[in-house]
């Protein structure tokens, strides 16, 4: 019941410890400042129950419009229903809302790309790499991969992993997962796992795929310390010219500044940008438009128009809600373009 | 030690008051102690003796009053201050670190050090040798390297004594040092005390054993209900007079008549041998209805082990236990209780009290099964009134039945434990040092209850290191020595000399 003239927008954020989410939140804050909006930003620390409680608290305070980075797709419908009861609306980012959630009302939006796209882009980068360096590939187009996974059961872990494997298969590779294990998003754990794997599987793997940059950097550090590089005498020389000083390419997701820095040193091979600015801007503009009563079907947010034809992934695969889906593309971040993203 | 104060006192505690929630523990108490004397501090349980000494030792801060040590006013904020100023103390409750060695316990907080340039490290060898020398000078046979917790209670007590003496203090406080010692060991303690006295040390001695007072004390101060009644030369007093001062009324006999006549055999023990080969072996005896069986012996005679084994607390290698003629297996206290046994253990703190729980719960915890009402819920009212009744009978001094037992004086805690086992209505009650730390008046209450239990056909086993108690209360006295049953004395045979003879048979 805030009587201030300022529009109020709630931001329910999964977990600020995550790089993407932190960047997302930072941008929302900037946008709110600019737009003169009162922002209520809350961090659920990866707990869906907490997020639900936070939503209820904000609703009881009279907040009606939200940008949400949910914890689970499956929880989005319930959140949408609670918001709909107060005649509000929300834009979901990062983790996609379910079709049912968007069907709750026309005021609910997808402002994201599904996590699986990150995996698909990783697959694309890997394909490019082996196209350019066919000698690195095993017999019969075999990719011998070490995989470092995020916290098990975390949606980003699940979708990114599944998608990269599927993507490679679709491109005709045989993927042999030499070893895979969770490092819980943590660089230190990734480094430890990698230490053991280098000892166990030296020469038996030709790529390291990770679910985020943090773990990728842990793996890079481990490979460097073990001198698993092109030229053990000079850790900065990319002798074989494949774009990395390491013997094998390491891939991350997030395009954090540190990761870009590492790429600039030819250490990390590539990463994927999940566009935190794009997603947050789209979501925020949608929420703001609703709050100001300016939203109408087909609204253009952050220069994006809603989709018109159903794709193959939920929720943008359902004609009934396609007009509520704004797909913000992921971007491959490679040698060629990484400089664009350095802040 | 030269008498360096004008007043002639080494220690003066002037007008000390101290209150706890609900209790005025000390009320304007004055105590003056001369160097080179043994000053007995007497009083019933809860009179405030330990509290007064804890104020002296810096454990409690008195609410008002002054402490003058060697002519100078002092204020101790911690035990360390007291120790540094020449006051050491043997505490009423055993206070040691069970997992560390004897030598580490003795030198705790003041270990001998060795220098390595600017660095200082423990001198383990010196610590060992000093401990050995200390033990030797005190005639104690304790290996400095032994783990403290592995020693018997009495040896642990001996270590406390050795430790207190080793501080070279000018005032040594001994709060019931003899409560877990037998008479022989108490004699030994007295030799140590006399030696201290001859060196000019003032010893403040607290005990509930009357006879000791007249053996050792030069002066006696008597406390009652937190006040000082007065200080007397030991020679002016006799036992009855002293008791009158403590209790505030005349007392008659020390022991009530035990009128019961033992009937048929209730408990029979045949060839009981402990699993621990250093403990008792091949012990046989029986216990009759209405009988009080005393168990005597020196410390280390394994009396405690024996009764704890009967109660299922220790493993038995062989032997049989029969209750009312039927063979029983006692694997845990629960089994024992179900066969009608009860045991008051000797280690009040370790295996007796629940410090944070109320007096009521402490009293009733072993008999709750009898107070289940509708839907098996506890009948609090009956429990409370029964517990209160028992404690009243023993004159337990407590602010209320809801008070945490840790706030009671040591002797009153013991009374609560006695109440606990009385409340279980045992057929066979085993009491291991039942009157340890209990004042004369209350001892009489306990004896009376024992006599009454016996008259009502209950049987009692009483382990005791107090000769008069054994002689005064037992129908028969069974003597153990080094874990073996060396004889049972009855009637005229039951004399102090005979007990000692049997108790030292293998020594």
């Amino acid at each position: 019941q805030s009587k201030s003239s300022k529009p109020v927008i709630g931001a329910l954020i999964r977990n600020l410890d995550e790089q993407f989410v932190a960047d997302y939140a930072a941008n929302v804050k900037v946008l709110a400042e600019k737009a003169g909006v009162e922002l209520k930003l809350l961090d659920s620390r990866s707990d869906q129950a907490t997020q639900l409680d936070q939503l209820n608290t904000l609703l009881s305070q009279g907040v009606k419009y939200f940008v949400i980075v949910p914890n689970q797709t499956e929880a989005t419908e319930q959140m949408a229903q609670a918001i709909a009861k107060k005649k509000g609306g929300a834009a979901f980012s990062n983790i996609q809302p379910s079709v049912a959630a968007l069907k709750v009302g026309k005021n609910f939006f997808l402002a994201s790309s599904p996590e699986s796209v990150a995996g698909q882009i990783q697959a694309q980068i890997i394909d490019d790499y082996f196209q350019k360096n066919p000698k690195k590939l095993g017999a019969n187009k075999t990719i011998n991969a070490l995989m470092l996974l995020g916290q098990l059961g975390h949606p980003a872990q699940k979708y990114r992993t599944d998608a990269v494997l599927q993507g490679l298969k679709d491109k005709g590779y045989t993927v042999n997962v030499v070893a895979q294990d969770t490092a819980n998003w943590k660089p230190d754990e990734a480094q430890q796992k990698m230490d053991a794997w280098i000892a166990a599987f030296k020469g038996k793997f030709n790529i390291v795929i990770t679910n985020n940059d943090g773990m990728a950097l842990g793996a890079v550090e481990s490979l460097l310390t073990a001198k698993y590089v092109d030229d053990p005498k000079d850790l900065t020389k990319d002798t074989d010219g494949d774009g990395t000083v390491l013997k094998v390419p390491v891939l991350g997701v997030d395009a954090t500044q540190v990761a870009l820095k590492s790429m600039s040193e030819n250490k990390l091979y590539a990463t994927v940008l999940q566009d935190s600015v794009g997603q947050s801007s789209t979501a925020f503009e949608l929420a703001l438009a609703m709050a100001q009563g300016k939203y109408k079907a087909g609204f253009e947010a952050w220069g994006l128009k809603p989709e018109t034809t159903p794709g193959d992934e939920a929720p943008a695969n359902d004609a009934a809600v396609i007009g509520q889906c704004y797909l913000v593309p992921f971007k491959a971040v490679t040698k060629d373009n990484y400089k664009e993203f350095v802040k | 030690m030269p008498n360096d104060t004008a007043s002639g006192y080494v220690l003066e505690m002037l007008g000390i008051s101290k209150s706890f929630p609900g209790v005025q523990a000390l009320n304007d108490v004055t105590l003056k102690v001369r160097p080179g004397t043994v000053h007995a501090l007497m009083g019933e349980n809860g009179a405030g003796k330990s509290t007064l000494m804890k104020c002296l030792f810096g454990i409690y801060r008195e609410d008002s009053g002054d402490i003058v040590l060697k002519g100078a006013k002092v204020k101790f904020h911690s035990a360390k201050d007291a120790l540094v100023s020449g006051v050491s103390m043997i505490h009423q409750e055993l206070l040691n670190v069970p997992d560390r060695s004897v030598r580490e316990n003795v030198w705790l907080g003041r270990e001998p050090m060795r220098s390595f340039g600017p660095l200082r490290f423990l001198d383990h060898r010196k610590m060992h040798e000093d401990t050995a020398a200390l033990m030797k000078s005190l005639d104690m046979e304790i290996d400095p390297a032994d783990r403290m917790g592995g020693l018997s209670i009495s040896k642990q007590q001996a270590c406390e004594i050795a430790k207190a003496v080793s501080y070279d203090a000018s005032v040594v406080v001994m709060d019931e040092p003899s409560s877990s010692l037998t008479e022989t060991e108490t004699e030994h303690l007295f030799r140590i005390i006399r030696d201290l006295r001859s060196r000019g040390v003032a010893v403040i001695y607290i005990s509930h054993k009357m006879s000791e007072i007249f053996q050792i004390a030069d002066e006696v101060s008597v406390m009652r209900d937190g006040r000082m009644v007065g200080t007397y030369a030991a020679s002016e007093l006799d036992e009855d007079g002293l008791i009158r001062l403590m209790v505030g009324r005349d007392t008659t006999d020390r022991f009530p008549p035990v009128a019961s006549v033992p009937g048929e055999v209730r408990l029979e023990v045949r060839g009981l041998t402990a699993a621990n080969p250093r403990s008792f072996r091949d012990v046989s005896f029986d216990l009759r209805r209405g009988e009080i069986l005393g168990i005597g012996g020196l410390v280390g005679a394994q009396r405690t082990e024996l009764v704890e084994a009967l109660f299922g607390l220790r493993e038995v290698a062989s032997g049989e236990i029969l209750v009312d003629g039927g063979l029983v297996r006692v694997r845990s206290p629960r089994d024992a209780i179900s066969h009608g046994l009860g045991l008051i253990t000797e280690d009040r703190r370790g295996s007796g009290i629940f410090p944070l729980l109320s007096v009521t719960v402490n009293t009733s915890v072993a008999s709750l099964g009898r107070y289940l009402g509708k839907a098996r819920l506890l009948e609090h009212r009956r429990i409370e009134s029964e517990a209160a009744k028992l404690n009243e009978a023993l004159r337990t001094k407590t602010p209320s039945m809801g008070t945490q037992i840790q706030n009671l004086s040591g002797g009153n805690q013991q009374k609560v434990l006695v109440s606990r086992w009385l409340m279980t209505l045992p057929d066979i009650l085993i009491m291991d040092e039942p009157t340890r730390g209990i004042d004369v008046g209350a001892k009489y209450e306990i004896y009376t209850i024992m006599a009454e239990l016996a008259r009502n056909g209950k049987s009692i086993i009483m382990v005791s290191s107090e000769m008069p108690e054994l002689l005064g209360m037992s129908h028969r006295i069974m003597v153990l020595c080094a874990g073996r049953h060396t004889g049972t004395l009855e009637g005229k045979q039951a004399t102090q000399e005979n007990i000692m003879r049997l108790a030292t048979q293998f020594v």
């Binding site: 809350l42 059961g153 | 409690y60 629960r334 007096v359 337990t396």
Partner: protein, 335 residues
Amino acid sequence: MAASSTVTAQAPARGLRAFLSKNTNIVTFVVLALALGALTGGRAFGLDSIQNLLIAESVRAFAALGVGMIIITRGIDLSIGYVVCLVASVSASFAQTPDYAAALYAGKDFVILVPIAAGLMTGALCGLVNGLLVAYGKLPAFIATLGTLSIARGLQLIYTKAAVVGSLKQPFKNISQGSLGPVPYLAIYVAFAAFVVWVLLRHTRRGTNFYAIGGNPVAARVSGINVERELVMVYLYAGVLYGIAGVLQAGRLGLANALTANGMELDAIAAVTVGGVSQTGGVGTMGGMIVGVLTLGIINYGMTYLGVDSYYQLLMKGVIIIVAVFMDMNKNARR
């Protein structure tokens, strides 16, 4: 009342002090609530706010009641979070809509009793394992439950293959989400569970045994208490409470996954400690546990309501926990 006529209690001090010593926790709670009320001009306490608070804390309350009893027996339980997570997952897996293709038992339609029973049994089983390890295995509770934490976590992942168990049937969700007039079902369940725990602790022999074991395990044994059995029972009861927590959590969220209830053990333990349950054993009441849960609840709720930055929330939460327990600890520290 006094056993002996010799000592008279100082009547006036006692009433006040007893009141204070029983109620520091409540005082803390009230102070925080008033502070929040003042800061928001009372707006933070509308009916729906109170409903929210009750709903938000209810699941934690079950966990707190369970671990509270365990702490009374001088134990601890670190496995709560993952046990609740495992329970929620198992329970949810039997409550998925049969037409949901990704359901664990796709096509199967179980009656509503199945997910409930499965959840409770899972919780009870975990509790039982903890209890057996602590009581008969003689493991320190910290380590035993650290072990089961890891095991429960592994099992949850194996069972769900790390996927979200979602799309739960509405009747199942209604169990958690419904309300009786203005009173959420969840609050009613908590009230009922709290009542049972109160009866157990205050009015049964077993409850007294818990206090006795926590107060002095050796003395408890000597007093004829079957210490092992009672320890198994307390962990078992706690397990059942975690079971309830898990089932309700699944219903409340309409899903369960590997992240459900993570870290709940610390919240629950902090709550009961704030509520005066002592880690040294033998001390604590049902009322204290609930007050503790509400206190932490109002901290969380208040900071959310006030929109405190989440980084600062962490900081302040730490400070408030410390201050609350400090006051509780030192309320009768005078010697």
